[in-house]
């Protein structure tokens, strides 16, 4: 059941070329929609039926998001694709850009048609130079074939498609920070409301979708929304790209139906490396709270199950850690990441991420104080739910997660000024 949607052409040579993409029915759906002038509402209904939820991490239903746009608004409308993949542990969008860029081009064009956007941007993180070139090449090929530009396939529909390269800022993965960045400003998230569907890029109605979300669209519409939905489980339709990294034998990106048991994904990744023992799993990117390995082995990979276990499916980025891993050191590094990447705009995140990092860093370096664990819990709680964007929560949640399951390791560090892992084992 693997590789049903985005990776279905993975067996082809040079699958990023338009001829190869078209040999498997690529651009047929777009052509059909434009020829038949399919009512946008019909496409939105299809997306709703498919159960596709935003693959960037927040999981918002895609069809519903598209339906928020007033197609008849007198201003311009914009479609923006979020390829600012930066959540630690996530590396799936890079593969889409490299291996199936035309699915994304087609998905972006269809979405633009639905919301009546004549300009679409793909925001690709600046470090992804090679994936960017692959994608830009796909745009150029699509333009040459008449799929991009004015009066596409004689339909009267115009759509320009361009890439905006990022400059190195995790926070730009947040949709409104990303819009600010396209406007040539610092990537500081905007306060919502108003939401981008009303006031987005250049103040116009805008839809922002993740790369994987948009790249799934052509297949969903071609093969049927129900078929896609039925790949997955209740409330988590379709299949999903899972990035798995860490101490597994074969890290990589795997396309699996939603609801696949974690153990299956784990097996596909070859299990633990060097016969080591699984200790913990971060199931949905570094912002998602850690789950002990033995708990994880009983879970399935879908939104509800992971949420019930106290974490998040997020971007589907799974980081597997073995029993040699010091959780204090892991949190120290994650804390540094959020401290480095906070945009600085709002107080709790600007000040709180640095505080969290410094406390954990002290503990890791043998300078922990008895009150530090309580302080960590309290500071993370004071950030949570009080910031403009989700970065504050993203920085706070892993702290709570670590302390939930691995408080003893922190306590040991504080008491003994050294690491418990491997200490007396």
């Amino acid at each position: 059941m693997a590789n049903e949607v985005i990776f279905k052409n993975l067996d082809l040579d040079r699958l990023w070329d338009i001829e190869q993409y078209r040999s498997r029915g690529g651009y047929e759906v777009l052509t059909k929609i434009l020829k038949e002038k399919t009512p946008p509402g019909e496409i939105i209904d299809g997306m709703k039926t498919s159960g596709l939820r935003g693959r960037g991490g927040a999981g918002f239903p895609t069809g519903l998001k598209w339906s928020f746009i007033n197609r008849e608004a007198p201003t311009d409308k914009y479609l923006v694709c979020n390829s600012d993949e930066g959540e630690p542990g996530t590396f799936k969008d890079r593969d889409i850009l490299r291996y199936n860029p035309h699915a994304l081009v087609e998905g972006m064009l269809i979405a633009s048609y639905v919301i009546n956007a004549h300009r679409a941007y793909n925001y690709i993180r600046g470090e992804f130079w090679e994936p960017y070139q692959r994608f830009q090449n796909a745009i150029d090929q699509a333009r040459a074939a008449g799929f991009v530009g004015n009066n596409i396939l004689g339909s009267g529909f115009d759509c320009e498609l361009n890439v905006h390269l990022g400059g190195g800022a995790y926070v730009c993965g947040e949709e409104t920070a990303l819009l600010e960045s396209i406007e040539g400003k610092k990537g500081q998230p905007r306060y919502k409301p108003p939401f981008p569907a009303h006031v987005g890029l250049y103040g116009c109605p805008t839809v922002i979708n993740n790369t994987e979300t948009l790249a799934s669209v052509p297949t969903i519409l071609r093969d049927g929304a129900e078929k896609f939905r039925d790949l997955g489980v209740e409330n988590s339709g379709g299949s999903k790209l899972f990035s798995i990294s860490g101490h597994v034998k074969n890290p990589g990106v795997f396309e699996l139906p939603m609801g696949t048991p974690f153990s299956e994904l784990f097996e596909l990744a070859g299990g633990m490396r060097d016969g080591s023992k699984i200790k913990a799993v971060i199931p949905g990117g570094s912002s998602s709270p850690v789950i002990p390995g033995e708990v994880m082995m009983d879970l399935t990979m879908d939104y509800d199950t992971i949420a019930k276990a106290g974490s998040m499916l997020g971007s589907g980025a799974v980081i597997v850690m073995d029993d040699t891993t010091c959780m204090v050191k892991v949190l120290d590094r994650m804390g540094y990441f959020y401290y480095e990447e906070s945009c600085g705009q709002c107080t709790p995140c600007r000040e709180g991420t640095g505080w969290l990092y410094r406390i954990v860093h002290r503990i890791e370096n043998g300078q922990g104080r008895p009150e530090d664990i309580d302080l960590l819990m309290d500071v993370q709680n004071r950030i949570r739910g009080k910031t403009i964007c989700a970065l504050g929560d993203a920085a706070a949640m892993p702290v709570a997660g670590m302390l939930r399951y691995y408080q003893d390791e922190f306590q040991y560090h504080i008491d003994h000024k050294r690491c418990m892992v491997g200490a007396d084992a």
Partner: protein, 771 residues
Amino acid sequence: MSEEKTITIEVDGQSLETKLGALLIDVTDAAGINIPRFCYHNKLSIAASCRMCLVEVAKVPKPIPACATQVMDGMVVQTRSPMALAAQKSTMEFLLINHPLDCPVCDQGGECELQDVAVGYGSDATRFVEGKRVVPENNVGPLIATDMTRCIHCTRCVRFGDEVAGMREIGATGRGEHMTIGTFVARNVDSELSGNVIDLCPVGALTSKPFQYRARAWELTRHTGVAPHDSVGSNIQIHTRRNEVMRVHPDSNDSINEIWISDRDRFSYEGIKSEDRLAQPLIKKNGEWTAASWEDALEAAASGLKEIATADAEQVGTLISPTATLEEIALAQKITEGLGSPNIDYRLRQEDFRGNSTAVPWLGQSIASLEHVNAALLIGSNIRKDQPLLAHRVRKAALNGAKIQFINPLQLDLHFDAAQMVSDPAGMVHNLAAIAEAAGGSHHLTEQIEVGEEHKAIAAELKDSESAVILLGNIAQSHPDYTILYGLASVIAKATDSSVGVIPVAANSVGAAVLGAIPDHGLNAHTMLESPRKGYLLLGVEPGRDTNNPALACAALKNAECVVAVTAYRSPCLEETANVMLPMSAFSETSGSFVNAEGTWQSFAGTTTPAGESRPGWKILRVLGNLFDIQGFDYNSSEELLGELKESHAGGLKITSLGAAKGKIRSVVTGLIRVGETPIYASDALVRRAVSLQKTKDARDATVARVNLSVASNAGLSDGDKVAVVQGEGRAEMILKVDAHIPDGCVWVPAGVPGSESLGDQFGELSLEKV
């Protein structure tokens, strides 16, 4: 509209009626419910970033910022519930962890929003044991002191620059904890409104440099006052300690200055304590200035002028500064009249007096209404520098889509979108006549006028606008063809159904006009100097700096038999030409009244005692009147005098025309013509002596002569050359700057600045010589 719908919300159990869509924080503020805040400011856009105003709203799982929450019917809000208080206290703790808490050495101490809010929401002890953030400083100029380590990143200053000052000079560079508010590089903040960030800054990060370490907030006594420079009449607070003005702050008045003041209004107080202050009466004896008693000096002044008046009253002339108070002007009028002279004037920078002189030059509408115009044509106006807060209103109109058009003898650096038609002074007349013709009016000029597409476009713009205004600015009023410009403006206004007005030059230009301090069949400010008098009474006038033609003024005064100067300052020209100098109190030392650009009468009290032996101007004039034996000088207070003035002069201002645009165009020259703008910090005696303002870019930029590249090449000159500006006998050496803002045929040579005393008409013919 649904926005107007009245709804009811509940805050802390209290039911409040308000409009749908209003901001929660505005609603609670109006109801007297205090929600702490730092980034929110009702004159700035919403940032919602400090997170201090988080409150609990029923059915919302997380605390939300009151500053960014629009109220809805039935909304139930708790500002002090456990959730709200916990959120507010969390923010307070985060704000304080990296704040230096150096309140004892911080200028903001005692008037610090962070300090105030910390009392209510902070904790006694810190849980933060790490090292605090330290931010390196950049010098941002002579007016604003920075200590960015204290900054709490509210971004009010950044938003002010962008949204109000119209100049993005301050920004937030870096990110996260390393984000720093500032200019990033060592670069001055140059906006003429920059000082307002001092008031906006909730902490001691941005404070007043001239005031630095001078006093504590709680030592200061606050007095209300009126700013004495431009014609806005901004409401101010004068803060004094032990009889000394320590600083000036804005006082809010939404219909005049809102909550802002210009840097000129804020920092000019430094001029009060200038070394130039005249501390005691002086009499010139055998060419030497000697100290005299008040009695002797007044006697000398009175007898000198009386002798001349007795022989021929027409030989006496009175020149009044347009920054003098109503009370002073009225008494100077009475004296002049009592001596039998018809020669009195306040229009010191005006050259062209051909029009109807009884017309009161005023805005013709309210200051606040300027921001609602759909189109404006500004003639001869550097409004941004001459009248910063009127420019702010016009800017607001422009941001709302109003079409703003300038006709000027120089290209302006503006902070809003506007079209600028730039030409030499004579070209301004032609352009205006062409617009008049395009609008369907007749211009009465004998010259051939060519009407171009651009003229038609302006005429059409004015015609098509629901509310259009035509205004003549400071430059127009010094223009050799002011009367014609005004006449043409009136023609255009009539043809396009626009209103027409004058932007009065100084704090009390309108007041002087209302009182009629102009000659009735006598000599005006120009002819009084052109046909020299034997005796002059000068009220607050520095002849070398305050007049349209200082060379003419100084020559006339030098040859006079008796020049009595009532003045707060000594100046070279007065020392050379006057016979008696009577020390007058300066700004803040006297009570008085001004009438501003929109005709509002505003009075103020004296707040400090006059320096040295100086006395309030109205008292000096009262005694002089008595010495002249003129009736009706027995006022016990300035209020008594004001009461009389109000009775006879108050009432709405009318829009009266200066008359038809007839006559010869005088600004036509064969060679080069001077564009003699009066720069912002050279406008009057007080500001010229404000040392910090004199260090600003605006002041430094006003020390050079400017020409465009083609004028420079034709004259064989280049940028940086030392040149002599020659006007008749007058000669001033300056550095030449090549500047594309200056049109062909023109040389920008500022008036009112050091070195300009020997020059002639502000807009007169000149030549350039390489030195």
